[in-house]
Amino acid sequence: MKKIIVGVTGASGIDYARILVRELYRKDYTVYLIITGPGKIVMEKESGLKLSGNLEDQERQLKNFFEIPLKEDRRFVLLENEDIAASVASGSFKVEAMVVIPCSMATVSSIARGSSQDLLERAADVVIKEGRRLIVVPRETPLSRIHLENLLQLSRVGATVLPAMPAFYHNPGSVEDLVGFVSGRVLEHLGLEHDLYQPWSPERSRVDTESSYNIGILQLTSHLDDTVEGFKEGISIFKKAEFNYDYRNVEGNVPQLAAEAEDLVNRGMDLIFACTTPAAKFAAGAAGGKGIPVVFTPVLDPVKVGLAASWESSENNCTGVSGLVSSEQKLTRFKELYPGLRKLVVVFEGENPNASIELEYVLKAAARMRLTVQTVEVTSIEDLKALAKKKFYAGTGFFVPVSPLVEQNITWLIQQAREQKLPLMAPNEDAVKKGALLGLVAGHYDLGIEAGKMAAEILQGKDPSDIPIGRPEDPDLIINLTTAMHLKLDIPAHLLEQASAIY
């Protein structure tokens, strides 16, 4: 186990110490920390951390500060500066190095003169006499001749003088970046790798264009942010690359998508991920001329809405994953769970393109399965309320395709199904949780992953038109048991085994 002493004095810049200790801990060092009295005052001023209580309490406070788990009881040790008899005051206690960060000019002077008045100074003295590595990080500016001579003295005895002088070539975007540079330099001098900043190299710009991509995300509503999480997961199979995301969310305001899409294109995105059909349309429109690839999901039928020429190839710069679960699969599941199903009452939102797309598929599947179908078009809540007054015969099942209006008011339908003891198949998990009998839905996260993988392929050189439109491979079966019981259903064992969620 590698041991290191970190001294903190009353020079300004407690954050240098914060990042250094955090990183040392993460790199499996055992850190022995000494803070001088002035160091504690500066710590309180700069970070608001007022050390109080006994040593144990202080250690807890500091663990929080350095992002060290509180249960850590070996690799972080706080020493009292007055405790001149502590282990580190002896040369026989082997440490790899000592860093004084930030280091005041008073401490530089004491170390340079070998005065050893307290534990920190003594420890530094021991490190020097044992020929071990000592790094001091002074911050003072300007420097007097006395300061310079003391620093020179330290340098002569082998200490590294590493002033807190941040550089700017790594394009720091924040104070954290500036601080990270200095702490990173200390780590380098200890022979440790880190990712606190990108080291300067002549090839830097070239390497960057190869490995860093700007990805625009065009989102219609936060409800679908699972897809974005999935997308990021999926794209991460492209290992050597780094992605900078530009996330735009219009929270349901469709017209605003146009401006956001335009802006993303103008900012030179390498690829746009568009979430939902309207987002995909605007993104495709804006990106088309510039040849920026667009990956979308969930879009029910990209062919019908004109995003792609065919399911096999878009023949343009778009591709993506459809959210449409096959109607055959859906109805098969419905019948498995509710074998008495003879007639389907399809409740859908009129004037919604998605609803009519799915409706078409459902009608075909129902015909093949010899189910009679009655369609109920809903354009307002009143239509749903009117429906509630109608009586349906046994053997009837309600089916809701993707239909935002119906989905938002699904409790009406759940209530009606419940009262008439009829089953309801819903297009989302939440509706099943609320009381619909079942759903077979594409998980948004999974759709996002598929889309992300496509994006990775495109960035690695594949043409979007060569990537066929994806479909939900393994949609999630969701069952509500309380509803099943209410309908006095038997549930075949295999359905319980295959269900991804049971309510």
């Binding site: 209580g53 309490d57 509180l70 009881d73 309380t482 099943a484 019981m485 064992a493 319980l496």
Partner: protein
């Protein structure tokens, strides 16, 4: 007007006997040098001659003498108990206070009849339990310490049983007779009077989701250290509750202290009965009692769940720390190579094809357990909030039909504690058994056991919380219709295997999963997050946060909250017997239970199949069987936790000097 309440004082030595009788106790309780809970010091407790003398001394003075035979006893100790019981039959104390059901059987065997009081360690907290005990000849029940006076009144009304109540002194955080922490960690059982008081340890609070400490005010670190009970200010309320006897705690205390306490309660009772109308607490007496206090006072659960008000967070009034946090022993590769249990099995008595049972927290978990090869699944209460928190009728119904379809036994569990309306929930559950048709029902306390006996075509299982450690209590439970029992988790495996081999009822052992050290009505979420309890309308922070206690050795004790808001505090190490299955099978285990309520469905299937695989291999050829370390690595990867032995390796044993 109803009878006057009895003032019942503890006696550890002769001088105390004289002092408390002098101070006005109506009855005393004392124990012998053996078979008894408070045996920390050799100069305490009574020889047989002294017991006889104590009865002779007390009786003419109108003072009753109750003898504590209140330990859980191993077979060897039971044998040793017989002459002593015969002796007691001769000297005829006014009653025996007992904890172990086996004592009832032994007394019948010996033809000794004496009034029996059920110890607080029997954790009696509901009406059917009282009925069961009454049918077994128990004439008085010392109520569990978590019962309120209101509940006591109800219990009296419905059963007519004499009820005794702890009124003054030391208390436990854990439900009475249900604390296994000390036993599992130190081999010193709380349930055998040797508690090392782990609840008096200093703890930090840890947020498992955030992986960060929860900041507590400075000095607030004795998070489980309950205060002392004091009911002096509530004599009328006690009287109204119908409780017949006020018990003062402290058989290890001095004559001076107990004389004072008894005297103060005596004066209060006398004044109250003389003039109930004009009665008020005597402030000077209270002050004297308060000045002599050990810890700060609380009325504990007498009126309501006291929450944070019942805890002495600073620890400054703790009289003595019996133990400090110790590092729990982890299973090492060497332990596996050495097969540490192989020397513990004295004779081999292999059960035919032992079962693999899995306890799960939700229906998805159940499906996964069945896929993994479980023979039996336990479903139902008590379930933890983190794994769904409840089983609906529909869940139970479809779980049953699924089990039948897959040819797996499905046993419905009931919570360890079923107080008040929780018992109503059990009644409702049992009412639905007609439609559910489970293979069995697991009773975890005497009350649920009593009710479950009435169910038809359902096997009755007894959980470990019944604290069965000798064949006499097995015999009694068998008579009550129990088909399978569970080994109590704190006893040493050597004793466990002896018990199983002598038992007429097959035993299950806990084989895998987190082990509950304590179960308590004190909610840490409510107490520490908000400073009160659920009856003050907490904000349900248990639904968002997962808390653990961090002991001073930085070990993490998970805390789970169940559907009745009880907190379960676990050992830091989970149990894993996978590498040691052969020795357990050879010693006669009839069933292995994986406790996977806290596991995710994704973990359950592979874990169950690991156990399945090894059990099958052993069954096929125990001689050739060899445990492959690769599977240990696999198990540890599957579910990341520190794994230990529970009480099997270092747990509770008979000490020869106790015999």
């Amino acid at each position: 007007m109803q009878q006057k309440m009895e003032l019942l004082a503890p006696v550890g030595r002769w001088d105390v006997l004289e002092a408390v009788v002098e101070a006005g106790a109506d009855a005393v309780y004392l124990g012998a040098k053996k078979h008894n809970m408070r045996m920390f010091r050799s100069d305490f407790n009574f020889t047989e001659e002294e017991i006889a003398a104590a009865i002779k001394y007390a009786r003419p003075r109108g003072v009753k003498v109750y003898i504590t035979v209140n330990n859980l006893l191993f077979d060897q100790e039971m044998e040793d108990l017989k002459p002593y019981l015969k002796f007691l039959g001769k000297v005829k104390p006014d009653a025996l206070i007992m904890q172990d059901l086996g004592v009832i059987t032994v007394m019948r065997e010996l033809g000794v009849t004496l009034p029996l009081h059920a110890s607080v360690m029997m954790n009696v907290h509901n009406e059917p339990a009282i009925k069961l005990l009454s049918e077994q000849g128990v004439s008085r029940v010392i109520l569990s310490r978590d019962i309120s006076l209101m509940e006591a009144k109800q219990l009296l009304k419905n059963t007519g049983m004499e009820l005794e109540y702890f009124t003054h002194g030391d208390m436990c955080l854990c439900q009475s007779g249900q604390c296994y922490h000390s036993g599992m960690v130190f081999g010193e059982s709380s349930n055998r009077g040797r508690c090392m008081k782990t609840c008096r340890w200093a703890f930090g609070l840890w947020d498992r989701e955030q992986e960060a400490a929860v900041a507590l005010p400075r000095g607030k670190k004795y998070l489980l250290a309950v205060k002392d009970m004091c009911m002096l200010n509530f004599i009328p309320e006690l009287h109204d509750s119908g409780i017949c006897s006020l018990k003062i705690e402290g058989r290890m205390r001095t004559a001076d202290y107990l004389g004072t306490v008894v005297g103060i309660y005596r004066r209060a009772l006398d004044r109250y009965y003389e003039d109930p109308l004009g009665y008020a607490v005597d402030a000077r007496d209270f002050k004297e009692l308060h000045d002599k206090r050990v810890r700060d006072f609380s009325s504990m659960y007498a009126f309501k769940n006291p929450g944070s008000l019942s805890i002495g967070y600073s620890g400054e009034r703790e009289p003595r720390f019996f133990s400090y946090a110790v590092r729990e022993k982890e299973i090492t590769q060497k332990d596996i190579e050495d097969q540490v249990f192989s020397h513990q099995v004295e004779k081999e008595k292999r059960a035919h094809n032992p079962k693999l049972a899995v306890r799960v927290g939700n229906i998805k978990g159940m499906v996964e357990a069945v896929k993994g090869g479980a023979d039996c699944v336990y479903i139902g209460g008590e379930s933890f909030i983190t794994s769904g928190g409840s089983w609906s009728s529909a869940d139970l119904y479809y779980a049953m039909s699924y089990g039948r379809a897959r040819g797996v036994e499905v046993v419905v569990t009931t919570p360890r504690i079923t107080q008040g309306r929780e018992m109503e929930k059990v009644r409702e559950l049992f009412f639905q058994m007609e439609t559910l048709k489970p293979s069995g029902v697991m009773a975890a306390n005497l009350g649920t056991l009593y009710l479950a006996r009435r169910l038809k075509n359902v096997d009755l299982y007894g959980d470990y919380s019944l604290n069965v450690i000798n064949r006499w209590s097995v015999e009694l439970l068998k008579k009550l219709g129990v088909k399978q029992l569970t080994l109590q988790p704190e006893i040493n495996f050597r004793h466990g295997s002896q018990l199983m081999q002598n038992s007429q009822v097959p035993f299950e052992v806990l084989a895998h999963g987190p082990l509950t050290a304590m179960i308590t009505d004190h909610c840490l979420h409510a107490a520490l997050g908000e400073g009160f309890t659920r009856t003050d309308v907490c904000s349900l922070s248990c639904r968002e946060k997962k808390l653990s206690l961090l002991d001073e050795k930085a070990q993490e004790h998970h805390v789970e909250v169940d559907e009745d808001c009880r907190n379960h505090i676990f050992l830091a190490n989970e149990l894993a017997l996978l590498p040691f299955l052969r020795d357990f099978i050879q010693s006669g285990v009839a069933s292995f239970r994986l406790e996977l309520r806290t596991y995710s469905p994704e973990e359950i299937q592979p874990l169950t199949s690991l156990y399945r695989k090894h059990m099958d291999m052993i069954n096929n050829d125990p001689k050739k069987y060899h445990f492959d370390l690769k599977d240990w690595v696999k198990l540890k990867k599957l579910h990341k936790a520190a794994y230990g032995f529970g009480g099997y390796l270092k747990g509770v044993k008979v000490r020869t000097r106790d015999l």
